[in-house]
């Protein structure tokens, strides 16, 4: 296969993944949430158990009127939803599915790349919130920025811990170096990374930037139709990315208990991603939203010290071995 064809195929696969995975997660969320609340969820869109609910949503969103508020900053308002998707698309490029280069783009400092690009999602939020010319949107954007500035720290520190343990910044390298006992050794980092990741993608219980009972819809308040759909897609793509990163960094990626790692590694990765995504949905249904001060408190008094202690522990164990 020529190099350019290879590249095109890989990029195509990534685009398909980034558009299909959020739909799957969204549909799962509908069903999981419904059954956790003793309901059934969508049943009529699509013949079997409402499987096409999100397809119907998409078909509707393209028909919706495209509204731009008169006071809005039009170009910024219109470009923000597209930018919200970009970081997640780029991150998916470097997440390894299986051993032996089952990855769209190999990168030696993949971890650094992921952390750098992941933080850019908030810029789209800031653009959307400011350009909407709406006070609720602006408040949502400010909350998002404050949240991101806080949670970026434990997020990076927890990732640094596992990178230090593996002795590499390559995502594939981290999976190669991973051993089952790391589940215990890196457990605090896993928890910190997962929680900070939830906060970074503004997912319940850290969804204060949206907080529909306080801020109507935060930065989404003026968006309709396809632009709104893009933001929703970005949110669910964020779940996929955070689950994939947790899987690759802390749960051993393609390593399974039965030894078929080279053949079925991608399957293990997908199963683990699905499980972590399920936990993300589960947490949303079980817990209410934190208050803004509780959010900052949890970050600075809980997650940051925990991440620092984990760093010290990792360094200690690494030196002792």
């Amino acid at each position: 296969m020529p190099a350019w064809l290879d590249l095109v195929v890989r990029v195509l696969i990534v685009i398909i993944v980034i558009f299909v995975a959020p739909l799957v997660i969204g549909q799962t969320e509908h069903k999981v949430m419904a059954h956790m609340q003793g309901r059934l969820g969508p049943m009529y869109a699509g013949a079997y158990h409402g499987w096409a609910q999100l397809v119907a949503d998409a078909a509707k969103f393209i028909q919706k009127e495209d509204i731009t508020p008169r006071a809005a900053d039009r170009p910024v308002f219109k470009i923000a939803p597209v930018i919200s998707m970009l970081p997640y698309m780029i991150v998916v490029l470097v997440i390894p599915l299986g051993p032996g280069g089952l990855v769209a783009q190999k990168l030696d400092i993949g971890l650094f790349f992921v952390l750098a690009v992941f933080g850019l999602g908030v810029i789209a939020v800031l653009m959307a919130s400011w350009a909407s010319a709406n006070k609720f949107a602006l408040m949502g954007g400010l909350r998002a920025a404050a949240q991101l500035l806080g949670y970026e720290l434990p997020f990076v520190l927890a990732a640094a811990s596992v990178a230090m343990a593996a002795g590499t910044l390559s995502l594939s390298g981290i999976v190669e170096a991973w051993r089952p006992w790391w589940l215990i050794w890196q457990l605090p980092a896993l928890v910190v990374f997962f929680l900070a990741g939830l906060a970074e993608i503004r997912r319940t219980p850290f969804d204060m930037p949206i907080a529909d009972s306080e801020l109507v819809a935060g930065y989404l308040v003026e968006y309709t139709g396809l632009r709104y759909a893009f933001f929703m897609l970005a949110e669910y793509a964020g779940i996929f990315v955070i689950s994939a990163l947790t899987t690759v960094l802390f749960l051993g990626g393609w390593k399974g208990p039965f030894g078929l790692d080279t053949e079925l590694g991608w399957l293990w990765t997908l199963i683990k991603i699905a499980c972590v995504s399920f936990v993300v949905l589960w947490v949303r249904i079980a817990y209410p939203r934190l208050r803004e001060d509780q959010l900052q408190r949890l970050c600075w008094l809980g997650l940051v010290p925990a991440a620092l202690a984990q760093l010290v522990l990792t360094a200690g164990v690494k030196l002792a071995l």
Partner: protein
């Protein structure tokens, strides 16, 4: 002209253009947004020069933290949509300082390298940066660390709720 040259020139044009927009646009927040384009361009230039690590650090710190903080501050204080007429930007002194600094830097670089061909070093991986920082440049690195620590402690001391009569707050 190699591909890298073309890329560098293109990126340079983008960076220059967006940087000019940062200082000339009359939309306050859009200046911050153009700054993002500028910084991404600079990161892209680093990438072309195979300094991968520096490029991503640039994105992580400058875009993920500094610009976000900047936009945050602008939005928190005042964020008019549309043209701000009361921007106090002395045009000629600004242009003079900017052009002067650019000229001086350019002269310095031209003087240093003339038209020498410089082979690109190997890709700037994490390992190489680590070696450089912790071997050749360990003293400055430690000094910077000390400085940051001092700044951190200072910030904590300043943010302490001090004299009740001054701040008007009860502990």
């Amino acid at each position: 002209m190699t591909v890298a040259d073309v890329l560098l020139i293109t990126i340079g044009a983008v960076v220059l253009g967006s940087a000019l927009l940062v200082v000339t646009t009359r939309h306050l927040v859009r200046a911050g947004l153009w700054l993002i384009v500028t910084l991404i361009g600079v990161a892209a230039a680093y990438l072309v020069l195979t300094a991968e690590m520096v490029a991503w650090v640039q994105i992580l710190l400058y875009l993920g933290a500094v610009v976000v903080l900047l936009l945050f501050a602008v939005m928190l204080t005042r964020a008019p949509i549309g043209v701000s007429d009361d921007l106090n930007r002395p045009r000629w002194p600004g242009a003079l300082v900017g052009l002067g600094a650019a000229g001086a830097l350019g002269a310095l670089l031209v003087n240093a390298y003339r038209w020498e061909k410089v082979e690109l070093p190997e890709a700037g991986t994490a390992e190489r940066i680590g070696e450089q920082v912790f071997q050749s440049w360990v003293l400055p690195f430690e000094l910077v660390g000390l400085l940051l620590l001092a700044a951190l402690i200072g910030a904590i001391v300043l943010s302490q709720p001090g004299d009740d009569s001054v701040s008007g707050r009860k502990k």
